[in-house]
Symmetry: C2
Subunit: 401 residues, 2 copies
């Protein structure tokens, strides 16, 4: 790592040496040791069973179900397909309420499932969907609410469960960030009709690509298993559509190793998160957003909010400055999904106002955390942020596009 | 392997020793040697780039495009998703004509894409869709034809191209079986608006799971790349939907090795196919179906037709007898897709008659071929079939359900 930035000319965007020689990404990007991976993969070679619900996929489903304390964990190719197939298995029709402040796949999955999407705003402090933000958009077309458990926290599932029970709505959860997160003394996984987890390479539990639909409803799980594979699988229940959402044995092998290492990876994240909180605490205009609505978190993201006036620099300028230092800071979720095609062109969205979503999309930044990051890197990043704040009046950074 | 069946009592279903100690599957199930796989996977570990259009996926796309002589090869998670995303990229609406004599995913992919499906019958000799079988089902709602290149042969793309051009219909191909197949001096891959290949573990080219959409239309390919990933990729073109159809680096690693070994695997299939033709030639009532409409084939399936009267036993009885011998014979495609939900319940299908499809669904059988099969196994299987024919009048086999 380079020396500290003692003057504006030391910043890489002005020609100084980048703080990091290699790109430092946001996200977990954990991978097991080669030796353990080899042992798992050699077994697959010996069995010659590469996909179609093999023994590793079955074992992983059992272990993940135990971890999140649900009756059924149905592995899928990826979380997007899990949401699509989940909506089909539930037989949803009409309109689904989703937050706009989420990864685009949350809404797109509902569109692939043939449903209309209606966007709700989120709470300004937790960034999560709440009964107060959902209620204003409920109308007669709404049949379901797809809530998102964000940032290693939760949206407070029990309050949404009460609202949906009262209004006769189906409730499902995008828990893509939710592995290792507990609320009300219980892991995410068994709330609402179903919850969908992501095992993408950037998640706390990785299968490189992958996902899982969890539910305590055995018949729903049986439908999901049959929808998931054109070959059929599990108990025979009638389904209208079948596709290919299979979880290969190679995905399962990596996921099983990642599951073994989950406690260590979560502990590492917790330590890094605490270090960020400490080191950024003294800098005006930037504040770490803690996971909310959770008893336990896996700290999958380091989310910070930039107050341009107090910090002296916009969030987009900070991202640009950090990029030159080889620190990949991300601006999730920008813009709000209601501003993206096809939703931005829907007539109902012409009068839509989501002020909290708009504000968060302008001010939040994610900084590197996870298996590729250590304490020294966190200190260096925080020192960069401090220097950016200190020299802000003398810096003219071109904002990231 | 056990001795020959010299009397009815020697058959395993009557208590004799099974011809094979282990199950002999239909399908390729090729996998590279551990050493070559290890070299490829160690590179992925070192780069820490596990998915999201990594270097191996990019290399595979270039090499596959060269193999099939098209401008664009867009890898996807699996062929079903490739067909769904292909239909979306083409902006198809209304009704698509598909054969009923196909794997269920052909039709289901169109249903996932929000399209109506209209079933056409196939030619009794080639088992393929032809202008003569498509024309009777064309009406004003039909906007496209999704033809299938079956059994390592083709449906004769040029005649369907002429028909669709004349009628103003979009033509696309399910070439799941099509790797290594040529017609009119050119590989499958560049016909119609697009062709979709499968790299499922049972295919001639395997990525365990995987697929590829091929097209000479650069703008269509750019739309496909953007639809394929919520993160976006490639040239910016407007798309209405995005999802997760990404091809991971692990999939690409296996596919690249499989591509290197394709000539050897095709040569092995050709040899086995010829051995089946020779050995079954003298048996009344069973006939190998040769790939049709192709200059070159990869012989991905051994398809035989059973004439119950001449053979002395129904196709379903033969499948049952072989299963007891640990020979996995498959009955693709049974029933025709028009007989499966949701299609069987569609009002338009109540009067639908597809006599050729019905006949093929009752009489065709697939016998083992591919990397796990050798000449001795083929001879043993053919000897079992010969014995089944010889002793048929004295055998009472319970038909496979």
């Amino acid at each position: 790592m380079s020396t500290l930035k003692r003057s504006p000319a030391d910043f890489a965007f002005l020609g100084g040496t980048p703080a990091f020689a290699d790109l430092l990404p946001v996200g977990q990007l954990y991978f097991p040791s080669w030796e353990r991976y080899e042992a798992a993969m050699r077994g697959i070679f010996e069995r010659g069973w590469f996909t179609n619900h093999g023994p590793l996929a079955q074992t992983f489903e059992r272990r993940f179900a135990e971890l999140v304390q649900v009756r059924n964990a149905v592995t899928v190719t990826n979380a997007t397909l899990g949401l699509v197939m989940g909506a089909k298995a539930l037989g949803l029709t009409g309109t689904v309420v989703v937050p706009s402040f989420t990864f685009v796949a949350t809404a797109q999955a509902m569109t692939w499932a043939g449903l209309e999407v209606s966007f709700a705003d989120v709470d300004p402090h937790t960034h999560q969907l709440t009964p107060a933000t959902v209620e204003p958009v409920l109308d007669d077309d709404v049949s379901a609410v797809l809530a998102v458990n964000l940032w290693g926290g939760t949206c407070g599932p029990s309050a949404l469960e009460a609202l949906c029970a009262e209004r006769g709505l189906t409730l499902l959860f995008d828990s893509a960030h939710g592995t290792g997160v507990s609320v009300d003394g219980r892991p995410l996984g068994g709330h609402g009709a179903l919850e969908v987890f992501s095992f993408h390479a950037t998640k706390t539990l990785s299968a490189t690509e992958g996902g899982c639909v969890c539910t305590d409803d055995d018949e729903l799980a049986a439908r999901l298993r049959n929808i998931r594979s054109s070959y059929g699988a599990g108990e025979p229940v009638a389904v209208e559509v079948t596709g290919n959402g299979r979880f290969s044995e190679a995905q399962a092998a990596i996921a099983l190793l990642s599951l073994e290492d989950l406690p260590a990876n979560v502990a590492n994240n917790a330590m890094l998160h605490a270090a960020y909180v400490d080191s950024l605490a003294g800098i005006d205009g930037i504040r770490v957003v803690a996971p909310t609505g959770a008893d336990e978190s896996a700290f999958p993201y380091l989310v910070a909010q930039v107050d341009e006036e107090a910090f002296g620099m916009s969030r987009d300028a900070l991202v640009s400055l950090l990029a030159a230092e080889n620190v990949v800071a991300r601006r999730y979720f920008r813009p709000g999904v209601h501003r993206l095609p096809p939703y931005r062109d829907a007539p109902r969205n012409h009068t839509l106002r989501l002020p909290v979503t708009e504000h968060l999309a302008r001010t939040l930044v994610q900084l590197p955390i996870g298996a590729l990051v250590d304490l020294a890197a966190v200190e260096q990043i925080c020192s960069l942020v401090a220097a950016a704040h200190r020299f802000a009046p003398r810096l003219h950074v071109e904002e990231a596009a």
